[in-house]
Amino acid sequence: METVIKTEKLTKRFGDFIAANEITFEVNKGEIFGFLGANGAGKTTAMRMLCGLSIPSSGKATIAGFDVYKQTEQIKKNIGYMSQKFSLYEDLTVLENIKFFGGIYGLPDRDIKSKSEALIDHLGLQGEAKKLVGSLPLGWKQKLSFSVAVLHQPKIVFLDEPTGGVDPVTRRQFWDLIYDAADKGMTVFVTTHYMDEAEYCHRISIMVDGKINALDTPVNLKKQFNASSMDEVFYQLARGAKRAD
């Protein structure tokens, strides 16, 4: 099994505050890896380091085989990212958004054209292609946002609480897209607060106070904590947390 994310004692300090404390884990190709933790546990900091947005204070990490200290440019070419805030331009049309993001990832025009057509077909947005994104319902925006994030076929896609504020049916559809991508060999690294979504992941890690306190498949975690649901597992771990927003 090919490893695409590998961290070893990855740490980020802000002054005296240790936001991420010696995080060590591996994620395999094609895996859907859930990254859980209460607010303030250090998820975002960890994810920013993995995306090359933030330089670690110490420790090692490679993303798609590239070093997070020296090769951030190569990392950026090989990852996709979708932020918790909905991250398309509302005043551009669906098509313009696709073209823009395809463009800044350096896709050739012909690729962008064929890909955007395929994408619009796939999402069933034929009627909306020339409408402003701002006029679409939130669920569609989020699906579109994900599709745009993986337009350049990155090895890994980072999703930061991608389904916030979306109804359960749309969330389910959103996860279908995630499964599709994972089936094609893309690695999905996802943070979430929804425990039903945690169950969809192949493996999950739970961060408490900057450290990873648990890491396994949902089934094994439930066994380990003698819990009937992921909710209970999460609650048992997060209850001991000293940090909160």
Binding site: L53, S54, K77, L92, K99, G103, I104
Partner: protein, 368 residues
């Protein structure tokens, strides 16, 4: 490079699609020029004046009746007392006083020249200037009338005296002032807001994760505003030349080069604000309070800097618009060349470089 073009095109789409912003962007300079222009330079009618006639001869009476007949002036009264004149000026009852010395006609006939004194209340420099021009032209009119009857030309020398504001500060100077104001507003506020907006909506993060270099993100944000601001400069200049009849005396090319420098100063300021703030409201407030107010107060176009306390005079030196205002005034109104404004240009350039370095530094800090 191709990415850069794609990005700039996207920025244009943002600006052009936002009809309200666009209206502000281009409506504002037009409005300001017209409001300032017509509020300050409109012709004056029925201005109250005092005539002081020590001569009481044919010539003085004839000129007085000509003045009385014109619709520009209304003679409040005739007096002989200087105290009376001063009192009337101070109370704001009159705008102008015309003084005929003794032996006016005699001097005119025998020496072929005579003097008239025109005293104006220059605390409102525009009105003062307009009124003295009217009065002088009436006097010139009389003079040429006399000239027809004789071979030797007569000369009536009108001595004008501007009370309270001898240098007539403020005349036409609002055009350079409005230019500084509009560019400040457009460049600083719009750039700051458009960058902070991307932070707020989360698209900035997506851009920073992409292989597109952050410095290019910032640059491509600035380009559309640079171009739109240049269009604004053209609009303002066209309005001032064709609507306000204020010609550009100096080099237009130099004026544009200096404008580009100032626009870049403003863009860097905007970028600096956007790096330091996280919400559009804050960015807008800082741009308005921190940039617009100093521009109005300390550039010297509304309030003379010379009259301020020393501390404020020193402070005014770090306001970029002050230097731009001096530069534009020198080129546009005085017709001076680069040799006269290289110092101001250098200062403006220095401020720009300083701001650029500071904002790029803080931008990097944010990234790590």
């Amino acid at each position: 490079m191709k990415q850069f073009i794609i990005f700039v095109r996207k920025e244009f789409a943002h600006v052009l699609r936002d009809k309200k912003t666009l209206l502000i962007l281009f409506g504002m300079p037009v409005m300001q020029i017209l409001i300032f222009g017509f509020a300050l330079t409109n012709e004056v009618k029925n201005a109250k004046i005092i005539v002081v006639d020590y001569a009481k001869d044919v010539a003085s009476r004839e000129i007085t009746s000509k003045i009385a007949a014109s619709h520009y002036f209304e003679i409040e009264k005739s007096t002989m007392s200087h105290d009376d004149i001063e009192k009337s000026f101070k109370e704001g009852k009159i705008k102008l006083a015309i003084v005929f010395p003794e032996n006016f006609n005699e001097n005119l006939l025998h020496q072929n020249k005579a003097q008239i004194q025109i005293i104006a209340d220059a605390s409102d420099p525009n009105t003062a200037n307009t009124l003295t021009n009217y009065a002088s032209s009436i006097i010139r009119d009389y003079q040429s009338q006399l000239d027809k009857t004789t071979e030797t030309p007569y000369r009536i020398i009108a001595q004008t005296k501007m009370l309270y504001n001898p240098q007539l500060k403020g005349v036409h100077s609002f055009v350079p002032g409005v230019m500084a104001l509009v560019l400040m507003l457009v460049c600083v506020m719009m750039t700051a807001v458009s960058i902070v907006k991307e932070k707020e909506t989360g698209t900035m993060e997506v851009l920073l994760v992409s292989p597109f270099k952050p410095i290019w993100v910032i640059l491509s944000k600035a380009i559309p505003y640079l171009i739109l601001s240049l269009i604004n400069v053209v609009i303002i200049l066209l309005l001032s030349v064709f609507v306000l009849d204020l010609p550009i005396v100096g080099s237009v090319l130099l004026l544009f080069a200096e404008s580009i420098l100032f626009i870049i100063t403003c863009l860097t300021l905007g970028i600096f604000i956007s790096v330091k703030t996280n919400s559009q409201q804050v960015a807008m407030l800082i741009s308005l309070m921190g940039m617009l107010l100093p521009t109005i107060l300390f550039s010297g176009f509304m309030f003379p800097i010379e009259n301020m306390p020393v501390a404020l005079q020193v402070f005014s030196n770090i306001v970029p618009s002050k230097w731009f205002y001096i530069i534009v005034k020198s080129i546009m109104i005085k017709g001076l060349g680069f040799s006269a404004i290289w110092k101001e240009t250098l200062i403006l350039f220095g401020i720009t470089v300083f701001l650029l370095i500071v904002s790029l530094k803080s931008f990097k800090i944010r990234l790590s």
